[in-house]
Amino acid sequence: MFTKPVTWADGVRRLLARGLLPTSLGTDDLRALDVGLKRRASFSARIENLQALQKINDVVKELIRGISPEDEALRGKKPLQMSVAEARFQVRKTFKELGVTVTDSGDVGTIKDPQSDQRINLIVSTQEQLAQGYGHFIAGHDPDILDVWPCQELVRVVDAEEPRDWEARWKRVGGQLYAGRMIALKNSDIWDRLGDPAIFKDGLGNPYPPFAFGSGMRVEDVSRDEAEELGVIARGTPAPLARARDVDEDAKVSLEGFDDELKQALLDNPEYVLDGGVLTLR
């Protein structure tokens, strides 16, 4: 264990120096994830300006990538890592320069205003959490990890001013409580339904947190021993099968709440397809 701070350069000599993505992802996978993240940013931010979307993507990548040896070499000359404040500043600056704003002046300063604090915070934090959530999802589906930690629990990490009733949502999607805890196998489709915008309007369409916009709910591994003790799985149950997942699978949203002009603009986009009232990436 480290008993004093280890510089990144030291860490790199001793550890695998990858970003926040699982080390099992190769270069091609990382490139695909980059493209996927841009498309998702486009999708969930509901903004069509490609340059604005590219800025969101670039900023989120900087936020989550960790510190490289090149960063260490420039220690003192520039910040080692992008701060959240800097991320928000860059996104807002780009939106201003590109004229990304509301058409209705009554919406200025509200969540509908792309330049508002609320909106910028939501975009940056949601995209950062989604990227990390995807990485953790993939890491959690390693076969060895699944054998020792086959289940996960839905837990609250950040308090909300107006918390949603997650226990009611859990039961609605078929989840059971074990000693009052919301636990299921990692590969259960309960997790898909929990974030499904066809079921919950604020759903983000992915089987990993955040399941909904502005949600403080996350997941935590539950060990085989604990899962057996609680009765989630029977003793000796084989490890669940790992799920592969392309990040684009999770980009879907209900069109309810979109104005007609935006709906049409999205439907005209050959990258999107409408299926049962839910828009998803083709």
Binding site: M1, L15, F89, G133, D142, I145, V148, V157, V158, S223
Partner: protein, 180 residues
């Protein structure tokens, strides 16, 4: 005539095979410790408020940043470097050509860069303290940031799980895996 059935050797062989899988052992060890850190940061998140009494997402972000890394020879947990400042303490200085850090002293400034306030200006007091301010609604300056050449942070060992807890958790999960 007696019959001795050797039940130990098959179990020992199984144990030896598992122990030889160093990649797996290190992976599981790292994962167990990563889980412990995430649980610890979740507890801290529940009580975390900034100086303005507003709950913030710092420990959630730190929790999300925790990941494992492992090879056949190394097992590690990596997280955002901001945790290190909390745990070990230290001095923060401005970088590049900047001479000052800007410390938010008003709720409106929290989470924002000073550059976001286009009409801001610097006020220097008689005691030579510098602030960044904007005109308030009442015409008086609204002080947003204190400008300082550096900040000192005290170490806080409670920022991460203690070493004994880490060892106990890791060995517990490894034992489960080896006993299977």
């Amino acid at each position: 005539m007696g019959l001795a059935i050797d039940t130990a050797t098959p179990n020992l062989d199984k144990l030896k095979r598992k122990l030889a899988q160093k990649s797996t052992i290190n992976k599981l060890y790292a994962r167990a410790v990563a889980i412990l850190f995430r649980k610890h940061f979740r507890k801290l998140s529940g009580t975390n408020k900034n100086r303005f009494g507003v709950k913030n997402s710092f420990w959630d972000r730190m929790r999300n940043s925790v990941r494992k890394e492992s090879t056949p020879t190394v097992s590690a947990v990596i997280m955002d470097r901001a945790v290190a400042l909390r745990k070990f303490g230290g001095t923060v200085n401005p970088t590049g050509s900047k001479r000052f850090l800007t410390i938010p002293i008003h709720r409106d400034a929290y989470g924002k860069k000073a550059a976001e306030f286009e009409d801001s200006y610097v006020i220097t007091t008689k005691r030579n303290k510098k602030f960044i301010a904007i005109d308030g609604d009442d015409g008086d300056p609204k002080f947003l940031y204190l400008m300082t050449e550096s900040t000192q942070h005290k170490p806080n060992s409670a920022a991460t799980p203690d070493d004994e807890a880490v060892k106990a958790e890791a060995f517990s999960e490894l034992t489960t895996y080896l006993n299977k």
